[in-house]
Symmetry: C2
Subunit: 386 residues, 2 copies
C-alpha cells in the first residue's frame, strides 16, 4: 500500500515538475485541423494509425479529446496500477470484436463525467443515491461489513465517421469488480480485507451492470439503439504481479434489458508458477523454465526472469516476459539481447504474441524483443544513446 | 555529482537485491556448448545475431565471456553514464569498418586486466610507473595543477572463427580524453574544474595512444601483425545531456609506431538548440521544432520533447528523441504513440535512423518508435501488460 501511494505521489510530483519545466509557448499554429464542413461542429483530426488492428483516436482543436472522467482510473487502482493497464487494454481488445477498428474511430469516453462515475463508485446513501455499492452498515468485521463490490468504471466511445463528421456508433462500459475489498477500521490504521466469493462477485456485477446499462441508455446523446457493450472485470489483488481479467460481457443492441452474458474464459497468470498458483498448462511452465534456465546464468551475476501469461481456458494467448539484470557495458546489452532472441525462439511457445522487456538493475529498459506470431525470429531493439 | 553518485549507489543496491532474490539453482544443463574438437580448448558458443550488422558475442562454458576489466567503465563514468554508452557504442561502430561483423565475432576485452587499466588511468608515480596521467605537482589551482587527461580506456577483441576455434583477429582500444577535469581540493569539498584546450587534449591523447599501442603490442597473445585500432574519444561534460564523441582513430597493422591519424568529424548535439550551443545545420533545428510544437500540446498537460543528434561535419547521422508526458490511461498511450508516428514522419528529417522513446512522468518507458532509414512509416511498440 505505502509503496503504491509513494509511486502515485511521485507520479504527481513529476507532472508538476514537467509542467514547471516546459516552456509554455503554446504554439498551436501547426495544428491544421481538418474542418468538418459544418459551422456548428468544431474541427477534428484523428491520430492516424500504425497498424490495421489499432483504432485511430480523436483530436479536437489540436488536442487529444481526453476522457470526461480522466484520472479516475488511476485513483481507483492506485494500490495496483497493473489493474488499470489490464482493464483498459482488455476493454479495447473486447471492443474490437464488436466495433471493428476498420470501421470505427476510438474516442475516450465523453458521456459519463468524472463526478458521475465517482458517485456511482461510492456507497449508496441519502447524499449519494446513485452509489452502486451497498450502504455502510456500521460493521467493522471483515465478514459482517458490506464490502465495496464495484471498484472501477470506464467508458469508451466508438465513433462512426461520415462526411467529415463523427457520430456515436457504440459504447463500451467496463466494470471492475473486487474479489477482495481492502479497508481500514480507522484512518491510517492497519489494512483489513473482506473476501468476496466468485459467485457473489458475479451476482453483484450483474446487479450493477443492469443499473449502469439503464442509466447510460438514458444519457443525452445515447439513442435507443446505440450498441452498448458492458464488460465485467475481476480486479487482481493488490500484491498481484499481473492485472485482473475480463470474465464476461454482454452487448445491448437496444433497450435497457440484459438478455444474456458471454463468458470470456480469460485469466492471467505469472510465470514461474508458485506453490500456491500454477498455470493451466504444464507444458507452458516447462517451456518457460527452460527459457529461464538458459538466460539466468548468462552473466556471472544472475538475471531475474518472470512473465505474465494470458489464458483462454487452458490455451495460452500471449506472453509478456520481463528480464532484469545488472549490465556493465553497452556491449553486454547487445550480446545479451541477441542471446535472449535465440533462447526465446528455441524455448518459448510458438504461434502466440510474445513481448520481452530487458531492464537494468535500476529498472531502466535497455532492450526489447517482440514476435507477433509464428516460430521465427524476434524483432529486437537495443535502446542506445549518442 | 550527488545525483549521479546516488544513481550509482542505487544500481549497486539493486544488484545486491536481485542476487539475494534469485533462486540459485544454477542449472547449466541446457547449455549445450559447441565443442571445439580439441581437448585443450574449452567449448564455446556464440550469442547468435538478430541483424547482419551486429556482431555475435562469445559464450564460454555457458556464460558470457565478460570483459577482463568489467566495471571500470562504470566507475570512470559515474558522473555521466552517457559517456559510457556513447563510448562503447561508438567503439563498436568504428570497429565495424575495420573488422566486419560478417567475418569477425565480438569478444569483450580479455588482454588488459582491471588492475592494468586502473593503473594506466592513474597518475604516474614511483608506486604507479605505468600511469598515463601526469604526476601530482601539488598545486590546487585549476590552471596550475596537472589535470587528469586520460579518463577511460577499454579493450574490445575481434575474433576469427576457424574449425570451431576462436583466435584473435584484431583489437580496438578506446581512449576517453577529458576537456574538463573535475577535482576536489579536499575530500568531500567543492568540485573545481581544470579546463583542457582541444589542442592540448589532442596532443596528450597522441602521447597516451603511442604508449598504449606499444604496451598492447607486447602483451601475451598479441602478435607483431595483429591489427590494433586505437580510437580517441572526447568525454562530454558531467552535466551534458548527450555523451561524448570519437574524434580520431588510427589502425596499426604491425609494429608499435603510429603513422597517421584519421579524423572522424563526428560530434553530438542536443535538440532543441540552446542559447550557448546550436546544432551545425539550422534546417534540422527547424524540423525538430516543428515536430516538438506538434507534439507538446497534444494533451492538456504538456509533453517534454528533446533529442540527441549525431553529426558528421554538418550532416545529421541520426536522432534519438525522448518524449516525456503524464499519461492517465493505456488508451492515451496508444493514441499518443500513433500521433507521434505521424508527426515524426511529417516533420523529422528523412533518410537517417531515428529512435523515439516515450516515457511517463515517472520515467517508465511506455512506447517506442523506430525507423532505420527512408521517409516511410515508423515501427511502433506500446509496452503493455496483462
Amino acid at each position: 500500500m505505502k509503496k503504491k501511494t509513494a509511486l502515485l505521489f511521485s507520479l504527481l510530483m513529476s507532472v508538476l515538475l514537467i509542467s514547471a519545466c516546459s516552456k509554455n509557448t503554446n504554439s498551436n499554429s501547426n495544428n491544421t485541423a481538418k474542418t468538418s464542413g459544418t459551422t456548428t461542429n468544431k474541427g477534428y483530426q484523428t491520430t492516424g494509425k500504425t497498424t490495421d488492428s489499432d483504432y485511430q483516436g480523436v483530436i479536437q482543436d489540436g488536442k487529444y479529446k481526453t476522457n470526461a472522467a480522466r484520472g479516475v482510473g488511476i485513483s481507483q487502482n492506485a494500490d495496483n496500477l497493473l489493474n488499470l493497464k489490464s482493464f483498459e487494454s482488455g476493454m479495447t481488445a473486447l471492443s474490437k470484436d464488436q466495433f471493428s477498428p476498420n470501421k470505427y474511430v476510438f474516442q475516450e469516453g465523453q458521456i459519463l463525467s468524472k463526478s458521475t462515475i465517482e458517485n456511482w463508485l461510492g456507497r449508496v446513501s441519502s447524499s449519494n443515491p446513485t452509489g452502486l455499492n451497498p450502504k455502510d452498515n456500521g460493521q467493522k468485521d471483515a465478514a459482517k461489513r458490506n464490502p465495496i463490490y464495484v471498484q472501477q468504471i470506464e467508458e469508451q466511445d466508438y465513433m462512426n465517421e461520415n462526411n467529415g463528421k463523427l457520430s456515436l456508433g457504440g459504447i463500451t462500459i467496463g466494470i471492475g469488480m473486487n474479489r477482495k475489498d481492502y479497508y481500514q477500521k480507522e484512518e491510517y490504521g492497519s489494512t483489513y480485507t473482506s473476501d468476496i466469493s466468485q459467485a457473489e462477485m458475479i451476482k453483484q456485477g450483474r446487479i450493477a451492470a443492469a443499473k449502469v446499462l439503464d442509466r447510460v441508455r438514458k444519457q443525452n446523446g445515447v439513442s435507443a439503439n446505440t450498441p452498448i457493450m458492458i464488460a465485467m472485470f475481476q480486479q487482481a489483488e493488490n500484491d498481484s504481479l499481473v492485472g485482473g481479467s475480463f470474465y464476461a460481457y454482454t452487448v445491448s443492441k437496444n433497450g435497457n434489458e440484459i438478455s444474456n452474458w458471454n463468458n470470456t474464459n480469460l485469466s492471467s497468470y505469472t510465470f514461474p508458477a508458485t506453490a500456491t498458483k500454477s498455470v493451466p498448462n504444464d507444458n507452458d511452465e516447462t517451456s518457460f523454465e527452460g527459457f529461464q534456465n538458459k538466460i539466468k546464468n548468462f552473466f556471472p551475476n544472475l538475471a531475474g526472469v518472470t512473465a505474465q501469461g494470458q489464458y483462454k481456458n487452458k490455451t495460452l494467448q500471449g506472453l509478456k516476459v520481463n528480464i532484469t539484470t545488472q549490465f556493465y557495458s553497452e556491449t553486454e546489452i547487445t550480446s545479451f539481447t541477441q542471446y535472449v532472441a535465440q533462447a526465446a525462439k528455441n524455448y518459448l511457445p510458438s504461434g502466440i504474441p510474445i513481448d520481452i522487456t530487458v531492464k537494468g538493475a535500476d529498472g531502466t529498459v535497455q532492450s526489447f524483443l517482440s514476435r507477433q506470431s509464428g516460430n521465427g525470429n524476434f524483432y529486437t531493439h537495443v535502446f542506445s544513446s549518442y
